[in-house]
């Protein structure tokens, strides 16, 4: 991709070049003789797919001097989506993104998938590059999340940009009187690419000092290589205005530095979400996810836990107020516990546009850091994501 910005924006520029007139209404009624098409079938004579752009602009303040994004106001991500049906019951969704990776912008295929909705009754299949359905937040794109950052456990166990794989998944919804969905997938996830820049003395799991290569790439852990994943989710409607959701997830594969560490890893997760609608526009959400990383390396095993609890109150269709508690033990041999609390306030202008303020205090073993975000999320055009 020689010029990713131009490649992503060219279709939008072409659309923008179309004539633009002031809004006007027909005085007389028009008889609709065909059903309004669903998302993905909106192209008129040009048979265009749904094309949309979503931008996430972050202002980030932090007193953590090791944070490369501190004290900056910049785009975190611009996502362009092309969505539509390509065959009866077969749709394609392509999400291309330019996002901040460290101090540089990188273009990547965020997701590109074909979904077949009619394998057999209740069974659907997806193939492509996909945000893996693990827990509640991993599948959700940044701009859809009700928070400016992501819980530390997700970053520690899946990396900065969600657990994503190239492969396929089958999802089955049996015909039960209640909601129960089972999903299984097989994937190939990229390893971290890096080069050794030297050697250093480090402690292994037994506390012995060994010589190890030092890599210039970040030490982030995530799963990579051939992956298998599974998720089971059910829900219980407690009343007509409240619902309890349970989920269990599993992902197994290599660590992202497998060539160097020869580690195999399994991340298991449980999630519990309670939602209650207390008024026409008000809603409580209490969302909890727990993760356990079991990592087997040549000289032993390590187990690390992480979880977050997120409580949110939607006052009305404009305002959300929430708080989140994070706990994570990290994924490295040297356990590094971090606890954090975040307070979040969001104002939604319209469905796809929001401004968000977030304050977070992080307690690490050696220090405490304070962070703040001012985030703008805006959307142009019809942009849809499947339900988690």
């Amino acid at each position: 991709m020689r010029n990713p910005v131009l490649t992503l924006c060219l279709p939008l520029l072409l659309q923008a070049a179309m004539p633009c007139f002031a809004q006007d209404y027909h005085e007389e009624p028009q008889v609709r003789i065909a059903a309004a098409p669903p998302p993905g079938l909106r192209g008129r004579s040009l048979n265009l797919p749904d094309i949309s752009v979503v931008g996430v602009l972050n202002g980030h303040l932090s007193d953590d001097k090791t944070d490369s994004t501190r004290d900056k106001f910049e785009f975190d991500e611009v996502e362009v989506a092309f969505q539509g049906f390509i065959y009866p019951k077969l749709r394609a969704d392509v999400f291309l993104a330019i996002h901040k990776e460290g101090t540089k912008y990188e273009a990547e295929i965020c997701e590109a998938k074909a979904s077949y909705l009619g394998v057999v009754d209740g069974l659907t299949a997806e193939a492509g590059k996909i945000h893996i359905n693990f827990g509640k937040l991993n599948k959700v794109h940044t701009h859809q999340r009700p928070m400016a950052d992501q819980p530390k456990a997700l970053t520690d166990f899946f990396g900065e940009h969600s657990l994503t794989g190239q492969g396929g998944t089958l999802s089955y919804l049996p015909p039960l009187p209640f909601y129960l969905q089972a999903e299984a997938g097989v994937w190939q996830a990229p390893a971290h690419e890096h080069e050794a820049s030297g050697k250093a003395e480090v402690a292994n799991l037994s506390g012995n000092t060994v010589e190890a290569a030092v890599y210039t790439e970040s030490t982030d852990f995530s799963l990579s290589g051939p992956l298998y994943t599974g998720r089971l989710k059910t829900s219980l409607a407690l009343t007509s205005k409240s619902e309890l959701e349970f989920g269990a997830s599993l992902a197994g594969g290599h660590g992202s530095h497998y060539k160097e560490h020869l580690d195999r890893a399994i991340v298991s997760g449980l999630d519990l979400t309670f939602r209650a609608w207390t008024g026409p526009e008000s809603r409580w959400t209490f969302q909890n996810e727990w993760f356990r990383l079991s990592r087997k390396v040549p000289d032993g095993n390590l187990e690390r836990d992480g979880f977050y609890s997120f409580l949110n109150y939607r006052l009305d269709k404009q305002i959300d107020l929430g708080g989140r508690f994070d706990y994570s033990e990290g994924a490295m041999p040297a356990k590094s516990i971090e606890r954090a609390f975040a307070a979040i306030a969001s104002y939604h202008f319209l469905e796809t546009n929001a401004v968000r303020l977030q304050y977070k205090v992080r307690g690490m073993e050696a220090k405490t850091a304070h962070e703040g975000w001012l985030q703008f999320v805006f959307g142009l055009g019809p942009h849809t994501h499947e339900l988690e």
Partner: protein, 315 residues
Amino acid sequence: MERFLLILLLTGLAFPAQAAKVRVAASNSDLGYLCERVAGDLASVESLSSGDQDPHMVDPRPSMVAKIRRADLLLRVGLDIDMWVDSLLGAGKNPRVVYGSPGYVDASVNIPLLQVPKDKVDGSMGDLHIFGNPHYWLDPANGKVMARNIRDGLCRVRPEDCPAFDANLSRLEGELGAALKRWEKTLSPYEGAGIVTYHNSWVYFARRFNLKLLGTLEPKPGVPPSPAHLDRLIKDMASGNARAILVESYFPTKGARKVAATTGAEVLVVPSSAGGQPGVKTYFDLFDAIVGSLARALASPSGAPSCSKESPCSN
């Protein structure tokens, strides 16, 4: 894993498809009611949303996915007001009710639409619907078109029962016709009267009953009222002699009460669907409540409101 698959299979077999009744999932309660009337005992109908919810803003839930999963027929308002249904259809994995299937019914088909944008639409116009104003069910004459669409869908999925559906439809159309005459007669003394509404939901209603819409509290669809806009609206209401402000039961009334305090118009908190207020259980109750409260407001000299959230029109 094998045990788990076996359990899934057995539980699936334990709840086999019911052949006796058509299972219907309706995106709103009015479609649900009309379907109950057209199908009679031959269908079991579940509404995905209740009448006290803003139809634009329904949160999809897993329990709704389960309703879609087991449905033979899906009824939706369409025209983008219930876009949340699309995400449920994706999650529901039920090929019987997806777009283009016999079990998919968009009730807006054959509806004479108002406010269909001729040209480009964007966010500067608020949450404008690109296929036209979607609040068509608030014209009771459109109830007949909706019922016919439902009948068509029922006949597609259960052709052997089509004569029964036709007979039920005929009865329902007769009742709707008689009720419409009654409602028109009730409001006929107030033809041309000016009203203001919170959202741009009442164009079909106003056209049916020859009422004049003088403005909306929202400056643009989906944009909350601003003080500057309300000041302009108050001036427009004074020149148009607006007597009533219609606010759906799920919208806030603060702005409406501010305007009412200045203009003397009455704030009418009304349902916009069956179930939108206590006692409003059917599509007929809906118009009885709206027409009744509006007639009382337009007949009475400006003063204390006759309907409110605390004292709904239907009580």
